[in-house]
Amino acid sequence: MAEAKLERAQPRAQVGLRLDPRDAELLDRVGDRLGTALPVAPGAVTRFAGGRVLWLGPDELLVRHENSGGSDLVATLEGAVGEGFGTVVDLSANRVVLAVEGTDAAAVLATAIGVDLHPRGFPDGHVVQTLLARAQVILERDGDRFLVYVRPSFASYVEAWLQDAIDAPAG
C-alpha cells in the first residue's frame, strides 16, 4: 500500500474564461470584480475569497468557486466582461475534481504523469494540463495535496488507475 488517499473534491462552480491577455484593461476589470489579479504567468494560480483562478493557456483561464453556483459565477464574470471580448462558459459539470494526498501522492501520480512533480518543478499554487495515462487532465498542487480535474467520462478510469497505484505499487 502506498501512503496516499484518493477522494472527490468537487467545487460548486467551475467556469471557463477566455480573455485576450493583451487587453490589460479587461483583465484588470475582471480581476477587480473577483478580488484578485488574473494569472498571466504559465501555470500560475491566483486566489480570491472562496475561489481560485487557474491559468490553462495564454488566453484561457478556469475560475472555480466553493460557495457560489455556476450560473451565479457566470453572471458575475459576464457582468465584468461587459462589452469587452471575452467568453464565459459554465463548466461546473464538465470536469470531476479528485484530490490525491499523502506522503506518496506524488509517487502515485508519477506512475502515469510525465511532468515534473517535484516541489522545485511544480510548487504549490501551480497548475498544468497534461496526460494521466491516457486521459487528459488538469493537475493543480494545492498545499500538500494534488487536484486532478478530469472529464466525468474518464473519471472512473482515472480513479481506477490511481487506486490501483495506491493499493498495489510494484514491489
Binding site: D90, A93, S153
Partner: protein, 902 residues
C-alpha cells in the same frame, strides 16, 4: 569437482547456502551468487548450446557482456525466457535451464509491473568509480541527481580490486566506495537506482531505465554516461569452447564470488590490464601456465608483476587454437604475425582468459544518433566528447582510456589464423549468432564492404546483446580483410532496448481494464439496469439496444424501432460532441467552416451543417443552434468531437487569428436525451407543463433555454428519425434524474429506451447518412444527395474550391441510393450490373437492415451513377452468389416529412 575456492568472494555469504535447479539437477550456491557464479562454482562449464551450430557454450563473461550462454529462468520472482546467467541473482528454489539454441516462452502468472516518471538535473548512468565521483560532485550543491547502477553493489570495476587503488588518495576501493555511497545516501535530492539498466537514451536527456518490476522514465538536464568499457574477445579456432572467457570476467568471478574459472589457466592478452588478472589468479592459488602476448613486450609494471608471481610470458606469440570438445584441454600457441609453417607450442590448461583490449561501452550514446569513431591511440571506437544534442557526456572508461601511455605499449589484435587442421568456421566473432571468420570472409568475397551490409548478410550483431562484444571485433577483422584501417569502418548503431526487456514490464499497469479508458455517460447506470447491450463508439460505451427477457438483439431492435414509430422512445445522446462557439465573429467563422450559411440563422433557430476538409470530402456533420447573435452551440458526431474542435482551433490559430472567436468543448457539461415518436410531445408536456410545445409556439428546428423536470434545461426540436422529436439537455450531474423523470412521465405512453442500432435503422429509413458509415473520406455532400446543405451563394468555405473540380462534379461518381433486395445483404457487399458476365463492382453497400416499418430488408449503397439507376435493378454479392436489388430513392419512409410535426 568444486571450483569454489575456500577463501574470497566479497559478494557471497557462505553461511547462507541456497539450493536451486538447473537443467533438472538440484544444485547449491550461496546467498549473493549469480546463476553463473554458482554453476561455475559447482564445476558446471557448459550452460547451453548455440543457436545454429548446436555447440556447447559456457559463459564468456560475468555480466551483461555475455554473448555465448543464455538461460531461461522461472520461479523466485523471475520469469524470463532469455537471460545472461551472470545477471540472474541466485534465489532459493530458482529453476533455470540452458538454452537449447533458443529460449522458450512460458505462460506466466499475472505479475504486476509499474512505470514511474522522475526528473533530475543530472542523470548518471553507471555506478563505478567515474559514475560515483560524478554523482558525488554533481549533487554536492543540492542538485537533483539520479544514479543508475546495473548491480546491487556500487563500485563497478572497483569491486574487483583489493588494497589501495591508484587515484583514490590511498584508500581501498571498498572504503572509498562506502564513503561515497554514504555521502550520496545522506543527500535528499539523490536517488540511487540499483539493479537498474538503461534500455534507451533519447534526445534531450530522456532515458528509459528498467528494474525487474518497474520501468523508469527519467528526464534530465544533463546525462553523464559512466557505463565503463567492454573487453574485446579475439577470434581464433575453438574460441567458443566453455572455459574460454574474457579476462576481466574471470577476475570478477574470483573476487566477487570466490570462484576459480580453471585450475590451470593461460592468459592471452595484448593489454597490460590482463597481467593483473594473471597475478590475481596466481595469488589465489590458481596455476597460470603462461601469459601469451603478441606484443614485443608489456609495460614495465606488467612485466614486473608477471615476474613477481613467477608467471612465464610468451612474447610475440598468439593463441591459434583451443583443443577440447566440451571444454578447454590445451592451448596451441604460435608466433604472432601469422607466417606459414609456424612452430607451435601446446600448453595443457582448463581455462583460457582473453583480452583483446577494451572498448567504451557507449552504445547508449548511439541511441541518440551520435556516432562512434576509431581512435588510433586508444585502439578503440570512442564516443564523441558530447552527444549531438549536447546533453550527454561520456565520463571515465566510457570516454576512452585515461592515458594510453600509462597502460603500456598497445597493439590491436583481432584474429589469429587457424593452425593446420583447423578452420575459420570455428573462429567465432559473434557467438550468439554463430558468426565466424569464415562467414565474414564470405561476405567480403561477395563484395560487401559496409559493416551495415555485412551485418545484414551474416546477422552479426543482431542477437539480444546487439553484438556488445562482437561489433568492435568484427570491424577490426573486416578492416584487415579489406586491407584498410578500422577508421574506415563505421560502427553500426545500437538501438533501444539495450538489453532485452519483458513486454509485461513495458506494459506496466496498462493492461486489463486500465489498458484503455472506457468512457461512460452520466446515465450509464440506468442503461445497465435496463439490460443494455453496449457497443464501442470510440472509447465510449453506448447502448446498442435494451434486451428484454427472451429477446435477441434483432428482436429488441425491432421492438425499439416500432416504439419510436408508433409511440415514443428515449435515447441517451450525451456522447454527441458539443462545442460552444462564441464571439463577435462566430457567425463569419462558421460560414467559413461549414458548407451551409449560418450567419443568417435566427437566434433561437437550429440548422443542419456539414463540415468538409479542403479536399471537399465530408468530415463531420451535426446540428448548430444559434443561442445569441454572437453564440452558437455546435454539435458533432460522437467519434469526431475532439477532431472537430482541433479542426476549428487549427483554422482559428493558424489561418484566421484575427477572427474574434472562442471555442469551448462543453460535451460533458451536458447530459442529453432524445425523446422521439408521435407521443413525445405528450410526454414532454408532463415534464415541462409550463412550456408551450405546439408546432406554432415551438416549431421544428428551434431551441430554447427553459425548465424540464424541474431542471434548468436546453430544449430543442430536432429529429434523426423523421418522427416528432425533442432533445433535452441538462447539466451532466442531473443526467440520471432527467432520465428517470422522462421514463416516469412516459410510462403511460409506453415509452421505451432505444439504442444505437434502432437509431441507425430509423435514420436509414429516412436516408440520413452517418459519417464513417456512408462516408469514408472520399465522399462529397453532393454524392450523398446533400447538395441542398451546400451553399451556392457563399463566396468561400472549406472545400468549396474542390467542389468545383471537374472530377468532383462528374456524374460518374458513386452516389447514395437505397437498395431493396429480397433478403438482407451484408454491409460491404459489392454491387454490379444485372445479369450478363460483367462482374465488375460499380458500388458497395454501406448500411443494411431489416425494417419493421417497411416490412422488408433494405440497404443504403454508394453506386456509380446511382441516381440515374433509380427504378432499375442491380446485383449485390450475397454469400457465394448474387441477389437482385431494386434501386430506390434513399428516403424510403415518409418522403414528404408529414410525421415530423406530430
Amino acid at each position: 569437482m568444486s571450483f569454489r575456492l575456500d577463501h574470497g568472494g566479497s559478494f557471497i555469504d557462505r553461511s547462507r547456502p541456497i539450493s536451486f535447479t538447473f537443467d533438472g539437477v538440484r544444485r547449491s550456491g550461496f546467498h549473493g551468487d549469480t546463476l553463473a557464479s554458482a554453476l561455475l562454482g559447482e564445476g558446471v562449464g557448459t550452460f547451453a548450446t548455440s543457436l545454429y551450430r548446436g555447440r556447447p557454450r559456457g559463459p564468456i563473461a560475468a555480466g551483461r557482456e555475455e554473448a555465448a550462454a543464455f538461460v531461461g529462468v522461472a520461479g523466485a520472482g523471475i520469469d524470463a525466457p532469455t537471460m545472461a546467467p551472470g545477471l540472474v541473482p541466485l534465489a532459493e528454489d530458482l529453476v533455470a535451464e540452458g538454452h537449447g539454441g533458443r529460449g522458450r516462452l512460458r505462460a506466466v502468472a499475472e505479475s504486476r509491473r509499474d512505470h514511474a516518471h522522475r526528473h533530475c538535473d543530472v542523470l548518471v548512468i553507471g555506478g563505478g568509480a567515474a559514475g560515483l565521483a560524478a554523482a558525488e560532485a554533481a549533487s554536492s550543491d543540492g542538485a537533483r541527481v539520479i544514479l543508475v547502477e546495473a548491480q546491487e553493489q556500487l563500485g563497478g570495476w572497483l569491486l574487483d580490486q583489493v588494497g589501495p587503488v591508484v587515484g583514490l588518495d590511498g584508500a581501498t576501493a571498498e572504503a572509498w566506495t562506502r564513503e561515497i555511497e554514504a555521502r550520496l545516501a545522506a543527500r535528499p535530492e539523490v536517488m540511487i537506482l540499483k539493479r537498474a539498466t538503461a534500455l534507451g537514451l533519447y534526445d534531450q536527456g530522456f532515458a528509459v531505465v528498467a528494474q525487474s518490476r518497474r520501468l523508469w522514465h527519467l528526464r534530465a538536464r544533463r546525462v553523464l554516461l559512466a557505463t565503463g568499457a567492454t573487453e574485446r574477445p579475439i577470434a581464433f579456432a575453438g574460441n567458443d569452447r566453455p572455459g574460454v572467457m574474457l579476462a576481466g570476467s574471470a577476475l570478477r568471478f574470483l573476487r566477487r564470488w570466490g570462484v576459480a574459472v580453471g585450475r590451470r589457466v593461460v592468459v592471452f592478452t595484448a593489454d597490460d590490464g590482463a597481467y593483473a588478472v594473471a597475478a590475481a589468479m596466481a595469488e589465489a592459488g590458481i596455476e597460470v601456465a603462461a601469459i601469451v602476448d603478441p606484443r614485443p613486450g608489456p609495460g614495465q609494471g606488467a612485466a614486473a608483476l608477471a615476474a613477481r608471481h613467477g608467471i612465464e610470458v610468451l612474447h610475440k606469440r598468439a593463441v591459434a587454437a583451443v583443443d577440447g570438445e566440451t571444454g578447454v584441454e590445451a592451448v596451441r600457441i604460435v608466433p604472432s604475425g601469422g607466417a606459414a609453417g609456424r612452430e607451435e607450442l601446446r600448453l595443457e590448461a582448463d581455462a583460457l582468459l582473453v583480452s583483446g583490449g577494451w572498448n567504451p561501452a557507449a552504445d547508449l550514446i548511439t541511441h541518440t544518433g551520435s556516432l562512434l569513431r576509431w581512435d588510433e591511440e586508444a585502439l578503440a571506437y570512442l564516443p564523441p566528447a558530447r552527444s549531438d544534442d549536447r546533453v550527454t557526456t561520456p565520463v571515465g572508461a566510457c570516454a576512452g582510456p585515461d592515458d594510453p601511455a600509462a597502460v603500456g605499449p598497445r597493439a590491436a589484435i583481432w584474429s589469429v589464423p587457424p593452425p593446420a587442421g583447423r578452420d575459420e568456421d570455428e573462429c567465432f566473432v559473434d557467438l550468439q549468432r554463430d558468426v565466424t571468420l569464415a562467414d565474414l570472409r564470405r561476405a567480403v568475397e561477395a563484395g560487401l564492404r559496409s559493416p551495415e551490409h555485412v551485418k545484414r548478410y551474416t546477422t552479426l550483431g543482431t542477437g539480444g546483446d546487439q553484438g556488445r562484444t562482437a561489433n568492435a571485433l568484427a570491424l577490426g577483422i573486416l578492416a584487415e580483410m579489406l586491407d584498410t584501417s578500422p577508421e574506415e569502418m563505421r560502427p553500426t548503431s545500437a538501438r533501444p532496448p539495450a538489453v532485452p526487456a519483458p513486454f509485461e514490464l513495458l506494459a506496466g499497469r496498462n493492461r486489463g481494464s486500465l489498458h484503455d479508458p472506457i468512457r461512460t455517460t452520466p446515465i450509464h447506470d440506468r442503461h445497465l439496469a435496463a439490460g443494455a447491450v453496449f457497443e464501442d463508439v470510440g472509447q465510449w460505451k453506448r447502448p446498442l439496444c435494451y434486451q428484454r427477457p427472451g429477446e435477441d438483439i434483432e428482436a429488441a431492435t425491432r421492438r425499439e424501432c416500432v416504439a419510436v414509430r408508433t409511440a415514443v422512445g428515449l435515447m441517451d445522446v450525451s456522447t454527441l460532441g458539443k462545442i460552444d462557439v462564441h464571439g463577435p465573429d462566430a457567425a463569419e467563422f462558421l460560414d467559413r467552416m461549414y458548407t451551409g450559411v449560418f450567419s443568417s440563422l435566427a437566434v433561437g433557430a437550429c440548422k443542419y451543417g456539414i463540415l468538409c476538409h479542403a479536399d471537399g470530402m465530408v468530415f463531420d456533420d451535426g446540428v448548430l443552434a444559434r443561442l445569441a447573435a454572437d453564440r452558437y452551440l455546435v454539435s458533432t458526431t460522437t467519434s469526431n468531437a475532439a477532431a472537430v474542435l482541433e479542426w476549428f482551433e487549427e483554422w482559428l490559430q493558424t489561418e484566421w487569428p484575427h477572427l474574434r472567436v472562442h471555442c469551448t468543448s462543453v460535451t460533458e457539461q451536458w447530459a442529453g436525451v432524445a425523446l422521439a415518436g408521435p407521443r413525445s410531445r405528450a410526454v414532454l408536456a408532463r415534464l415541462a407543463p409550463d412550456v408551450a410545445l405546439d408546432d406554432e409556439a415551438f416549431p421544428f428546428m428551434t431551441v430554447r433555454d427553459t425548465v424540464v423536470a424541474g431542471l434548468p434545461a436546453r430544449l430543442s426540436r430536432v429529429s434523426f428519425s423523421g418522427e416528432l422529436a425533442f432533445e433535452i439537455h441538462v447539466a451532466g450531474t442531473d443526467g440520471t434524474r432527467l432520465w428517470d423523470e422522462a421514463m416516469a412521465a412516459g410510462a403511460s405512453q409506453d415509452i421505451a429506451p432505444y439504442g444505437t442500432e434502432a437509431m441507425h435503422v430509423l435514420r436509414a429509413e429516412k436516408g440520413f447518412f452517418i459519417v464513417g458509415q456512408e462516408t469514408d473520406g472520399s465522399v462529397t455532400p453532393q454524392d450523398l444527395g446533400y447538395g441542398w446543405a451546400v451553399s451556392k451563394d457563399k463566396s468561400d468555405f472549406i472545400g468549396a474550391r474542390s467542389h468545383r473540380r471537374e472530377a468532383i462534379v462528374s456524374p460518374d461518381r458513386r452516389q447514395l441510393v437505397a437498395l431493396l433486395p429480397e433478403t438482407r445483404v451484408v454491409e460491404g457487399a459489392q454491387v454490379a450490373l444485372p445479369g450478363g458476365a460483367d462482374e465488375r463492382s460499380i458500388g458497395h453497400v454501406t448500411s443494411s437492415y431489416e425494417s419493421a416499418t417497411l416490412g422488408r430488408p433494405f440497404a443504403l449503397a454508394m453506386v456509380r451513377r446511382g441516381r440515374e439507376r433509380i427504378g432499375g435493378t442491380l446485383r449485390v454479392t450475397h454469400g457465394d452468389g448474387w441477389v437482385d436489388a431494386v434501386v430506390a430513392e434513399p428516403v424510403l419512409y415518409d418522403p414528404d416529412g408529414a410525421r415530423r410535426d406530430g
